[in-house]
């Protein structure tokens, strides 16, 4: 390698041929990007406001009184022992979920998860009808104590949830 080629081998000279300096100040592209981002987030917020469901504990839900009728809500509570009514071999269960002494009646027409039993905490989502019964279209069982302290997602995801992945 002859010395005459040395200058050619310097990297600095290369940057000039290949790269251009970044302009000082904000590139218009950035402004567009930021605006797009802001619009996107605003839209997402609005959408979230629309599709959110109020989440109550059973006693708070009951405290709402007649306001609750006709609303779609998510209610958390413990299944009252002895309150589960339903026929073996048939679908459809009615039970009461309670929190701090107050309880609300829930009817669920679909298959309950395996882990459903009296005395455990569940979350029911659905509309409250005129008889003040929560007509649930989703019942999620919180994991019983046995699972406590398990590794992330080691716990069963019990749900009658909408399980659809991305595309529906």
């Amino acid at each position: 390698m002859a010395t005459t080629h040395d200058t050619d081998l310097e990297i600095e000279s290369l940057e000039e041929t290949l790269g251009a300096d970044e302009p000082s100040g904000l590139h218009p592209g950035w402004i567009v990007a930021i605006l797009a981002m802001a619009g996107f987030i605003a839209f997402m917020l609005l959408d979230a406001f629309e599709s959110e469901t109020y989440f109550y504990e059973a006693d708070v839900a009951v405290a709402q009184g007649p306001d609750l009728v006709g609303q779609t809500v998510r209610v958390k509570g413990i299944v009252e022992p002895g309150s589960v009514v339903g026929e073996d071999g048939k679908l459809g269960r009615t039970f009461r979920i309670a929190e701090r002494g107050k309880s609300i009646k829930v009817h669920y027409g679909k298959a309950l998860p395996d882990t459903f039993e009296e005395g455990i905490e569940i979350v029911a989502q659905g509309e409250v009808d005129d008889d003040y019964v929560l007509q649930a279209d989703e019942v999620v069982v919180k994991c019983p104590s046995r699972y406590e302290g398990n590794a992330p997602t080691a716990e069963p995801k019990k749900a009658g949830e909408e399980n659809a992945p991305v595309v529906r």
Partner: protein, 748 residues
């Protein structure tokens, strides 16, 4: 005999001290470059890791020898558990899973420090420093927050443990947490490289080059973990789906999305010296999100169906999170100016910009999921009213984003670097576009008239159009890939006068990263096919009396009654059902319910899934009336779900191809493993990746997957045809679940 409790606790304390000292030594080494300190920092890493391994080995020993004087062992294992599940209970609880996490960080640090012991001299002390600092943080949580070696404070020495929940006693559940944990833990290494680059101020591509293989590792583990979790939910839980946008699932999904973005954007930095800030930012975000995910799930901050012990451990994680965030952001801002791009984007129609759009999409997806996960909490903080955001919201946002991503995947495969001239565009795009335009109607039509229409489902216009667009994009992505590989093969065949097969295999050997990436893309395409299939999914909860028939899709299901089997450890109720299609018998279904004597109130479902590439027929026994034999069932016909598992498997294999070390990188592992060892290792890993899918498919066509394996033969003669009852006959009566699950364990 040494006391497990004392030895384990001592090992943890010792590891903490070593890690703290090691961090200090490494910082000195990094600042002075003194070889003595560099040497010491390297060996301090080994020492710290060694001590952590001792702690891990002690816990494992305690579990295997049933040392119930340790609280953890008593809470998560019992005498009757088979070895496989005993090993699984190592990470079955909070403290153990944290120790496992720490061990994986330590192990990956050791391998990284060893592999790069002679290269990247400027980075390695800092890499050790960052890893050791992270380890110190984790060890502090272990030592002060939840010590796995804690004994009983009150005199309550039980002679038998509580055991593991029956639902969790499946091989998939044993492997799912460690893969996720390993994914979260191994994220430390690439993060350490990014930090090292920031600290040393070496803003060249060196950190990217050093870290690029290490980024694939967490990505691989997260993929495996999420996939196994989904499979378990689908097969064991009677849940019908594999993803429900639950906060805990989302927590594992953020880092996966972020890492996917990073894997793409580092290619741009390597090639063009662009996106330096972006890459560092993404790397920091990925790492922070792993800790954040752990924090929100462990602290009980977010309502989830997954429950965790709501201990003070959340506070520790919050402290760790804030420290990491503060340090990273400070360093990042400090070096902001130095991280200027070498070059700028030449044209929006270039491969660079396709990659950048892909990155934006992935980041936006992360933001959407993050927002959906956090919004209930934010809302509660702002308005005091707790809310919930359901899967429909997630689907509404993620579906269009996903489709865009799929489209970009096709474009990004073939678009040229820097700028696309009209001529280049024609050369590259004409064939795939024509092929897609030709193949899409054929494939869609063939499916619809061959099968889809018979299911009798009319999806909503939105669902239908999303599904069709998804399939078209999938076809486009595949054609671009085929076109590109074909072109490369041609080039090789011309240049080196090779046969087509030779050229193809050479391509994969010489360019593993690129073509491995293509394989991963193929896996993603398959997964999207499965998502599209959901548009035609039928889901029914029904209750039937014996002799009743029920029509779902074009299947006619006849319920034949119940049988009860008594096993030593449980009773199994089996619902017998036969499925006919067009008047022809296609399946015998045996969904069941197992009631463990140890947990009589918690029956577990034995779901029968008949899977095929076209569709899954899925039947779960919900409940039954022993008197009238009436029973309720949950039934699905889910088209293309099989493709999701296939996609996952292909994705894993593709990642393995990308990660497969080159001869050069093996040089650093002297004495280098021979070809035989490499081939064996690769083969074993590949088999491991394929196993879940293979087992699923096998189970679905034999008695293994359903309650049929418990069926005794008396009174079975009336069932005609098929081999399945015969297989059941060959099995000795009174076969226990332990044997069966043991065999499953071996298989996976």
């Amino acid at each position: 005999m040494i006391d497990n409790q004392d030895l384990g606790t001592f090992a943890l304390y010792y590891a903490l001290v070593v890690c703290l000292i090691g961090t200090a030594i490494s910082i000195v080494a990094g600042r002075t470059g003194s070889q003595r300190f560099v040497h010491a920092s390297r060996f301090a890493s080994y020492t710290g890791a060694g001590a952590i391994f001792v702690a891990g080995a002690v816990l494992m020993h305690a579990l295997l020898t049933h040392d119930f004087s340790i609280q953890y062992v008593a809470s998560f294992s019992d005498h009757t558990m088979p070895l496989f599940y005993l090993i699984g209970s190592f990470w079955g609880g909070q403290a153990g899973s944290l120790l496992f996490w720490t061990s994986v960080v330590a192990a990956s640090m050791v391998s990284c420090v060893y592999i790069y012991r002679r290269s990247y001299q400027d980075f390695m002390p800092w890499v050790s420093a960052v890893c050791l600092a992270v380890l110190s943080g984790l060890l502090m949580i272990l030592v002060f927050g939840s010590n796995p070696f804690e004994g009983f404070s009150i005199i309550n020495d039980p002679t038998t443990g509580k055991g593991l929940n029956p639902l969790l006693q499946t091989p998939k559940m044993v492997m799912h947490p460690p893969s996720l944990l390993a994914g979260l833990a191994t994220m430390t290494i690439p993060y350490a490289f990014a930090m090292a680059a920031l600290i040393t101020g070496n803003m060249s591509n060196a950190w990217v080059k050093a870290a690029r293989k290490w980024i694939l590792i967490p990505w691989l583990f997260l993929s495996i973990g999420n996939m196994l979790g989904g499979m378990w939910a689908y097969e064991e839980l009677g849940w019908g789906g594999y993803w429900a946008w639950d906060p805990v699932e989302n927590a594992a999904f953020f880092p996966w999305l972020m890492t996917s973005a990073l894997i793409h954007s580092i290619m741009i930095q390597e090639r063009r010296g662009m996106l330096k800030r972006w890459n560092i930012g993404l790397m920091i975000a990925s790492f922070v999100l792993t800790i954040f995910g752990t924090y929100i799930t462990r602290s009980g901050l977010i309502q989830s169906v997954h429950t965790f012990a709501q201990s003070e451990i959340g506070d520790y994680f919050l402290a760790l999170l804030l420290t990491v965030l503060a340090v990273s952001v400070t360093l990042f801002l400090w070096r902001w100016k130095d991280l200027k791009s070498d070059q700028r984007l030449d044209s929006p129609a270039s491969r660079e910009s396709a990659f950048i759009f892909n990155n934006w999409l992935l980041v936006v997806m992360t933001l959407v999921v993050l927002f959906g996960t956090m919004w209930p909490k934010i809302k509660e903080g702002l308005f005091g009213q707790e809310v919930a955001i359901g899967p429909p919201w997630f689907n509404r946002w993620m579906v269009p984003l996903g489709i865009l991503l799929l489209l970009l995947m096709g474009i990004g495969t073939i678009i040229p670097w820097r700028r696309t001239t009209m001529a280049a565009f024609k050369r590259q795009f004409i064939i795939p576009i024509i092929a897609t335009a030709g193949a899409s109607p054929v494939i869609l039509g063939a499916y619809w008239y061959g099968r889809g229409a018979a299911l009798g489902v009319t999806p909503t216009p939105t669902e239908a159009s999303y599904a069709i667009i998804t399939v078209v994009c999938c076809i486009f992505a595949v054609t671009t890939m085929i076109a590109d590989v074909g072109r490369a093969m041609n080039a090789r065949m011309r240049k080196h006068e090779e046969s087509a097969f030779e050229a193809l295999s050479r391509l994969f050997i010489k360019q593993r990263r690129r073509y491995g990436g293509y394989v991963v893309h193929l896996g993603i395409v398959c997964a999207f096919v499965a998502f599209a299939g959901n548009a035609l999914k039928i889901e029914q909860d029904i209750s039937l009396d014996p002799g009743d028939t029920y029509q779902i899709g074009d299947y006619t299901l006849t319920y034949e009654g119940l049988t009860l089997e008594n096993e030593p450890d449980k009773d199994i109720i089996i619902g017998k059902m036969r499925a006919e299609r067009n008047g022809k018998h296609v399946h015998d279904l045996r969904p069941g319910k197992a009631v463990f004597h140890s947990a009589p109130n918690m029956p577990t479902s034995e779901i029968d899934i008949k899977t095929s590439p076209i569709e899954d027929l899925y039947v779960a026994l919900v409940n039954h009336d022993p008197r009238t034999q009436a029973a309720a069932f949950k039934i699905f016909v889910a088209p293309f779900t099989w493709w999701f598992w296939l996609g996952g498997t292909i994705l894993l294999l593709g990642t393995l191809i990308c990660m497969w070390p080159t001869r050069d990188s093996l040089e650093t592992l002297r004495p280098s493993p021979g070809v035989f060892v490499r081939a064996t290792a690769f083969g074993a890993l590949a088999i491991l990746c394929v196993t879940p899918l293979a087992v699923l498919t096998y189970e679905s066509h034999t008695s293994w997957g359903s309650a049929a394996r418990f069926e005794r033969m008396i009174g079975q003669e009336e069932i005609e045809g098929t081999n399945e009852p015969l297989q059941g006959k060959e099995r000795a009566p009174g076969k226990t679940e332990q044997n069966a699950s043991g065999a499953n364990a071996e298989a996976s």
